[in-house]
């Protein structure tokens, strides 16, 4: 096969409720597919569920974005180059484990449960605002984005009044449409902002995640300013576009499937399992699960050579009919917890339980308080983020 014949990644979504056909074809044709990626290199693509979990939990595949073989799905490569401290997402093995465990205590199931009353208060306040406006509102603007934004800001100790600044720069950073310089500049602006914030907390560490990390790491003798800036960056960015987009997409899916929505409304105990299915069904992030092989590894009969890039596509893996029967059917009761929408292996999303809590509280509260909620436009007229690295909706006009 010549280079010209190789499929090209990334592939834009065309149907709002299904993976690109190219992804499905890749999964059906062979376990591993070689593709061309924007920097002109080739990479292996993993599309089957079992292979996806195997690769993501195999430490011979590195997450190091500074490795020359690491496959980026945007031109220009590593947006963190020039940073003085590597983000956790780019670390491997013991270095990664130590960094993750240092902050994991903030994201345990119990710690997240303790945040629930405050999340509920935030959601209720935002829905009060929606109801007071009435008519037609943009759910992205009124609810989807402010919920995770307010929650992560309070958790980290980032002033929410700066949200226009960091939401805008997060969007620029996550967009595949922006040119390389713009993405890199957005990272620089965010890091500079967070560096100033961390400096202020060094003088006066408050009782927030960043302040607690300063106190804890200083006591251990391992505190580094740049490392905390990197952590703050990762948590702030990861806490925004992801959950916000799942709130919007989940709302559309529930409104389009009223019989299934009715079951959740009748029994809030069904919401959490339903969220797992929504996560599987949309699998909004498919680019962060790239890896580079550090030695030769055989996956399903194909040898991936040391230095080769591998892109694990969670979307086709989560629609693998061998694991999820009739994957195109949104079945909120299917029991989809083994999806890979949060990734898998040592890098599996650190904030996944916070995301679950936010989604559960939003869906339970939104449809309880506004049971007549409906789309203000047909689904076909909604602006889906077909090209973005994190799938979602630009706007979601609703009424009731």
């Amino acid at each position: 096969m010549t280079t010209a014949e190789k499929p090209v990644l990334p592939v834009a979504r065309t149907c709002p409720f299904a993976p690109p056909e190219e992804y499905t074809r890749m999964r059906e044709d062979q376990a591993l597919t070689q593709v061309s990626i924007p920097d002109g290199k080739h990479a292996w693509v993993v599309t089957r569920h079992e292979d996806a979990r195997r690769v993501l939990n195999d430490r011979r595949f590195s997450s190091n974005r500074f490795h020359p073989g690491y496959p980026f799905l945007v031109e220009g490569g590593n947006p963190f180059r020039g940073s003085q401290a590597r983000p956790m997402i780019s670390m491997d093995a013991a270095e990664h484990s130590a960094a993750r465990k240092s902050v994991l205590g903030e994201f345990t199931v119990k710690r997240v449960d303790a945040l629930r009353p405050r999340i509920q208060e935030i959601v209720d306040g935002l829905i009060d605002d929606m109801l007071s406006i009435g008519g037609e509102v943009d759910l992205v603007d009124m609810l989807s984005l402010p919920v995770p934004s307010l929650v992560i800001c309070e958790l980290l100790g980032v002033p929410y009044e700066d949200h226009d600044f960091f939401q805008g720069n997060t969007r620029k950073f996550a967009s595949r449409d922006n040119v390389e310089e713009e993405r890199h500049a957005a990272v620089g602006r965010l890091r500079s902002y967070l560096s100033d914030l961390v400096t202020a907390k060094e003088a006066d560490p408050g009782d927030d995640l960043l302040g607690r990390q300063i106190v804890k790491l200083r006591a251990e003798g391992t505190y580094e300013h740049e490392a905390l800036v990197s952590l703050a960056f990762s948590l702030l960015v990861a806490g925004h576009e992801t959950t916000a987009n799942m709130i919007s997409l989940g709302t559309v899916a529930l409104l389009e499937n009223p019989d299934q929505l009715a079951k959740i409304q009748a029994d809030p105990g069904r919401t959490l399992p339903a969220i797992e299915e929504l996560l599987r069904y949309f699998t909004i992030v498919d680019a962060v699960t790239a890896r580079v092989a550090t030695e030769d590894v055989e996956i399903s009969g194909t040898t991936i050579r040391a230095g080769d890039g591998v892109v694990v596509l969670g979307y086709p893996a989560n629609w693998d009919p061998d694991v999820f029967a009739s994957p195109e059917r949104l079945d909120l009761e299917r029991g989809a917890r083994h999806h890979v929408a949060f990734g898998f292996g040592p890098h599996q999303c650190l904030g996944q339980n916070l995301a679950r809590a936010e989604l559960q509280i939003v869906f339970d509260t939104l449809f309880r308080r506004i049971p007549t909620l409906k789309l203000a436009k047909p689904v076909d007229d909604l602006a889906f983020k077909d090209e973005a690295a994190i799938y979602g909706l630009y706007q979601l006009p609703v009424t009731w």
Partner: protein
């Protein structure tokens, strides 16, 4: 059946606690798994299997 947990492999995702808080907890310090009951019986057996299946780092296994 006995639940075996490898805290060295554990990445603290909390999937096990979410599956069955009667069987699992997390360390407050670093989030790693704490097995509260390593010999599940009755309905908890199926929960233990589910926890093993969803564990992202395969830190949990079962001795049948």
């Amino acid at each position: 059946m006995k639940i075996i947990a490898d805290t060295g492999k554990c990445v603290g995702a909390g999937q096990c606690v979410l599956t069955e808080p009667e069987l699992f907890d997390q360390s407050e310090d670093d989030g790693t798994v704490i097995v509260l009951n390593d010999k599940p019986e009755g309905e908890l057996v199926e929960k233990a299997r589910e926890a093993v299946n969803v564990c992202p780092s395969q830190a949990l296994s079962l001795q049948e």
